[in-house]
Symmetry: C2
Subunit: 400 residues, 2 copies
């Protein structure tokens, strides 16, 4: 295969994750081992940085600092949610030509993979030799064709620990219901992960609802009431994208009468807690960790970090092998012990495709996840310890 000499650009698209910088470090590390890439630029704020010709010279960064950044959540390059328009693609190519950019590594979700594919297609049609490889990244785990996406394991760890800890607070100070809102847009992968910190029966969360299963408000209320009667408190995990049985924002029909549905947009857990308080006459509150779920420096899964780095390295390796218009994937090896290797998939098979949570992993009641999901997800977060509890030997009563 012919060697292609030129500059490489690496960029980040969409929401940051806890390990996107590990993928960046993987790109930097692998690139050092090959002479064909004569310079490595980081585009500031994703494709917007390419359009604005706003690059950082990554060859000027101290390798020790890169190792620190590899362990830091968030996007060291900055990211964007810019939806690339038709005329932008010509401009991207113009910028690439000006800097002799021959390698393009875009770390992102299914939107970013679409951008990567279109840039690569235009280059090919224009006869400009460019190798474009996508590096998977999403806390939502909704990228197709990969066992899972870097970023998911750490966000899953955050939410599993959050529900364990919030759940402990309610157990210790009962008489309350709380609804915790979990990120994930239209996919329930992260919400499902809240089940991963359960160790004993009745450990929270007691109810887990996923957007893949439309949910009648009355079902939610009946579920919460049943848990509360049994335990004296209830902890609910719900995805920000949950819809009711009509496909409407959850509970819209019930709260529309009061005319404040719009006030609750973007605040599902609060809407549900209000509904529970009003209809069940229970003390209800909501928690919305929001962005903390993808940015908290305290919750990074070690295997997630390692795999993110490997994906970055593999992107460079594949491009130098002549690959283009592909995304790096993680492939789980068969066998009892968890092991993954990398693979490659055509970008057109992942661009704009949303992989939703498998319905066969949802409990028939629609309020929990099933064992096969736990087996799938456990290696991605690593072991989650229970909180220590007293053995609790009661003192015999002396009064009536």
């Amino acid at each position: 295969m012919q060697k292609l000499k030129g500059t490489a650009v690496v960029a980040h698209g969409g929401g940051p994750t806890a390990v996107i910088n590990a993928s960046l470090a993987g790109v930097i590390e692998e690139r050092r081992r090959h002479g064909e890439i004569v310079a490595l630029y980081g585009a500031r704020h994703g494709i917007q940085g390419v359009l604005a010709e706003d690059f950082l010279d990554l060859d000027r960064e101290d390798p020790n600092l890169i190792e620190l950044i590899a362990r830091t959540p968030g996007s060291a390059l900055g990211s964007c949610r810019y939806k690339v328009k038709e005329p932008d693609y010509e401009r991207i190519l113009e910028v690439f030509r000006a800097h002799n950019v021959r390698y393009f590594f875009y770390t992102g979700g299914n939107d970013s993979m679409d951008t990567t594919m279109k840039v690569a297609q235009l280059a090919r049609q224009s006869g400009y030799e460019l190798r474009a490889i996508g590096i998977p990244k999403t806390i939502d785990n909704d990228l197709a064709e990969t066992d899972h996406s870097p970023g998911y394991g750490s966000a899953a760890l955050f939410y599993a620990c959050a529900l364990r800890d919030i759940g402990a607070d309610l157990r210790e100070l009962p008489g309350r219901v709380t609804v915790v809102e979990v990120m994930g847009r239209n996919a329930g992968w992260l919400t499902a992960a809240t089940a991963l910190a359960r160790h004993q029966p009745d450990d929270p969360p007691h109810l887990i609802y996923l957007p893949e299963r439309p949910l009648p408000a009355e079902k939610l209320l009946a579920d919460v009431e049943a848990v509360y009667r049994r335990l004296g408190y209830a902890v609910v995990a719900v995805c920000e994208g949950q819809r009711d049985e009509k496909g409407e924002p959850f509970g819209a029909d019930l709260i529309a009468a009061d005319g404040f549905a719009h006030a609750l947009a973007g605040n599902l857990a609060h809407a549900l807690s209000q509904l529970i308080a009003r209809r069940l006459k229970l003390r209800a509150r909501s928690e919305k960790p929001g962005l903390l779920g993808r940015t908290s420096a305290a919750f990074v899964s070690e295997s997630d970090r390692q795999e993110a780095r490997i994906c970055g390295r593999e992107a460079v390796h594949a491009a130098l092998e002549g690959e283009s218009e592909k995304m790096v994937t993680l492939v789980r090896e068969p066998g009892a012990a968890y092991r993954v290797r990398t693979g490659l998939v055509e970008l057109e098979r992942v661009a704009n495709v949303e992989r939703r949570f498998p319905t066969e992993w949802i409990h028939p009641e629609g309020n929990d996840v099933l064992g096969p999901f736990l087996e799938y997800a456990r290696p991605l977060t690593g072991e989650i310890a229970p909180r220590a509890r007293l053995s609790g030997t009661p003192v015999p009563r002396r009064l009536g």
Copy 2:
């Protein structure tokens, strides 16, 4: 001083904290060194456990497990928010007599100190010898007569890191405003602590509002707009108990026209983000870590944990010295290096007293805190590291 032989009861009142179990471990540890306390009971769910004669025999717990629990946030005994009524006090005394309880250690905030005081007063008036000592505990830091309260340092660490991390997310993916809701009821101590993770000018949070300073909605909007124009994003920390200049729930006058003010109760940050989105036409969102701020196992300040334990030990020590109707305090020693010792204060001086954030530590603009607060608070959380960032050498542009 005459030795008093009998049973001791330890209990937790109000919201759990990250280090209340460290105080419990301190009580257990100190008690082991003295023979006068013939048995140590833990009341389940605070004073409700006393009323229900629901005790755990803490002498049956493995010391190694107690050490694990000392490092676990939350209340291992369970807590309550029960407001003790007049007839309850007789019942409490009846239960204490039945178990020969001569020592009562109640770990809590100003409500719990009131309960402790009244139990002790009734015992004294009834001629029943009882030594009652309060152990300070509140994330809100609103207990009077103590330099600070165990629980505050860890919650302050949580919120400082939360604002650092959420702020990084917005810096990296700008074009947004976020309002983060911080616990603290009517006291701004925790909200103020969000300033502790700033390392560079323009580090988030950019605006900090405290309930001790009433805030006109128009001031908030002007502040947010100014920050956004300068930086391209804005991060706001606001206390859940913030009030507008009329002392009303913040922004009530502005949102009342839409008739959904009640829908926003208990959800201030969301209300403010809606207001910002509507009035400034900016993308705005809110985060509400809520209970995570006091229960997260990942954020425990080492000095907070040590001090909580010392307070537990000192409560037992003081009671055995004959003290009663007092609360343990933390007294900061003069000098450059941070050092504290314990003290004692009459319960009547802290019962139901709310210590608010000093107005002289609030910026004249009402949207930030001043240096003396940072000096006060830094030793309580310990050092908070900045997130690693690229040095960022720009590549010279080649196009127009």
